[in-house]
């Protein structure tokens, strides 16, 4: 029991350490296309009830206040803050940005699960399929015939191109955009990809601009939504909170040392 203040302070150190890690990850991904910053959610740990308010203090009277001692803090999870990142014009016709909610769907290793991403830096594979920089194909797959020129992707995802021998543009297909009931519930697996979980609910597919889905902007990339100033302020706050908790550890340590030496 007497050392419990030490453990309470320890929970504070651990929580601030985890928060620092999240801030570091946000800052590290400041230049990552389509990255969404995470925020740490803290929650108070359970309380230990030493004396219940209302319990009898004598035969006739009762304690007006109780003695509930808290056991510290924990990191309950991280929330992805889904605010829109800045759209940057890149001039590359295969760079796509989503202006609004939604995700592009990508088949992670061929035959594998579907990954969701907002990073729209696509390229063409040697057989003309639209792929991510890792080589994963966009779903449903989009094939661009050889020699196709001036590929145009409309805000609703309609893809058309001029093919050799045709004066009129040929319709190549229409991109679909996935949306979720709770996009914050998606799990990040790295490489800019998110995957579906029970918390996010199943993907609802549709065309860009429909049912609240964002529109596709060709020739643009969505930057990360990390705000350097905000992260730096958070970083200093986490650092100070870490320091005061470590101060508490040394204070309790001194108390115990003093008791050991004096008594």
């Amino acid at each position: 029991m007497p050392t419990s203040a030490l453990h309470v302070a320890r929970t504070g150190l651990e929580a601030q350490d985890a928060r620092m890690r999240v801030i570091a990850n946000n800052l590290a991904n400041i230049g990552t296309t389509g990255f969404k910053r995470d925020r740490v959610d803290f929650a108070t740990l359970a309380y230990q009830e030493q004396r219940v308010a209302g319990q009898n203090s004598t035969g006739q009277t009762a304690f007006a206040v109780g003695l509930n001692l808290g056991t510290g803090v924990q990191v309950q999870g991280t929330t992805r803050i889904a605010t829109q990142g800045t759209l940057n014009a890149t001039g590359d016709v295969l760079d796509l940005a989503l202006d609004g909610d939604g995700f592009f769907q990508v088949e992670l290793p061929p035959g594998g699960q579907i990954g969701f991403t907002r990073a729209g830096n696509f390229t063409l594979s040697n057989d003309g399929t639209l792929i991510t920089s890792q080589g994963f194909a966009l779903q449903p797959p989009l094939q661009v015939p050889q020699g196709a020129q001036s590929i145009t992707i409309a805000p609703d995802g309609t893809v058309s191109a001029l093919t050799p021998g045709n004066a009129e543009p040929t319709l190549l297909g229409q991109l679909t955009v996935a949306s979720f009931v709770n996009p914050a519930g998606l799990r990040a697996i790295g490489d800019n990809f998110l995957v579906e979980t029970a918390a996010s609910g199943p993907a609802e597919l549709g065309f860009a601009g429909e049912n609240g889905r964002g529109q596709i902007r060709q020739g643009m990339l969505e930057q990360s939504n990390v705000n350097v100033v905000e992260e730096l302020v958070e970083m200093i706050e986490a650092q100070r909170a870490y320091e005061i908790n470590s101060k508490m550890v040394s204070a309790v340590d001194e108390m115990l040392r003093n008791a050991n030496q004096t008594l």
Partner: protein, 248 residues
């Protein structure tokens, strides 16, 4: 001398408990909406007719300090900071009655229930959790009204589906329970506050003031040391008196 050391021991225990309360406040210095706890020690005097010198120290948590904390803008439309003294009513985790909190980092769970960062369901005016229709996007008005709009009909005006149950704690008893949530001791609910206002897009942080709390920490530490000193002195006195009695 035994009496002196027992009295000092109760004071030492109280100082350690105080340090624990301070440690818990410091640990929660970044928990949104956290209300710091105030620790107080009362003397418990044994009245046996003689000198009233045996006042045992008995520590207790006097409850939560409801002072307002700083509000930070977050840009997240579902984060709400309450104005004045109002509290948001949440469903107790055991679904028995309601609990209150200033913590307003709201989100929509997969089930459609509006909940906060701790997973507590927000209660509506009828006292039942607010459920958002599937696929609807919601926004919050300054009086706590939850507005839902169907993305399929973007031109239709947003429809008010419920209002967050905002309550006024003034004039009512309020205590922090063992689960760290504020509630009315012995059960009961607080009256609704129709004038309560909230600010969407901002979050109220913990009201722990670190400089003040660090001073409390040093105070508790020194108090503990003084009591240890009293016990040591009691030991010396005891030894001196027994050596006086020794026949050489």
């Amino acid at each position: 001398m035994d009496r002196l050391i027992y009295t000092a021991m109760t004071a030492m225990n109280a100082a350690m408990d105080r340090q624990r309360v301070v440690a818990n406040n410091l640990a929660n210095a970044s928990t949104p909406g956290f209300r710091q706890e105030i620790f107080a020690v009362t003397p418990a005097t044994l009245q046996d007719g003689s000198l009233e010198a045996r006042a045992m120290a008995r520590g207790n948590v006097r409850g939560a300090d409801m002072k307002a904390a700083r509000v930070v803008p977050t840009g997240n439309p579902l984060d709400v900071a309450l104005e004045g003294k109002a509290l948001i009513a949440y469903q107790s985790p055991d679904r028995q009655g309601e609990i209150y909190s200033r913590r307003g980092d709201l989100r929509v769970a997969t089930s459609g229930v509006l909940e906060n960062g701790e997973g507590l369901a927000v209660l509506g005016e009828g006292g039942t959790p607010i459920t958002v229709p599937p696929g609807f996007s919601i926004s919050l008005a300054a009086d706590g009204t939850v507005l839902a709009s169907d993305p399929a009909t973007p031109t239709a005006p947003a429809e008010a589906i419920d209002r967050i149950r905002l309550v006024n704690p003034e004039g009512s008893p309020l205590a922090k329970g063992i689960d760290s949530f504020l509630k009315v001791p012995g059960g009961g609910v607080l009256p609704p506050d129709p004038t309560a206002r909230l600010t969407p897009g901002a979050l109220e942080m913990s009201n722990v003031e670190t400089a003040d709390t660090l001073v409390q920490m040093i105070e508790a530490q020194r108090a503990f040391e003084q009591r240890a000193k009293i016990i040591a002195t009691a030991g010396d006195l005891d030894e001196a008196s027994s050596s006086l009695m020794t026949l050489r």
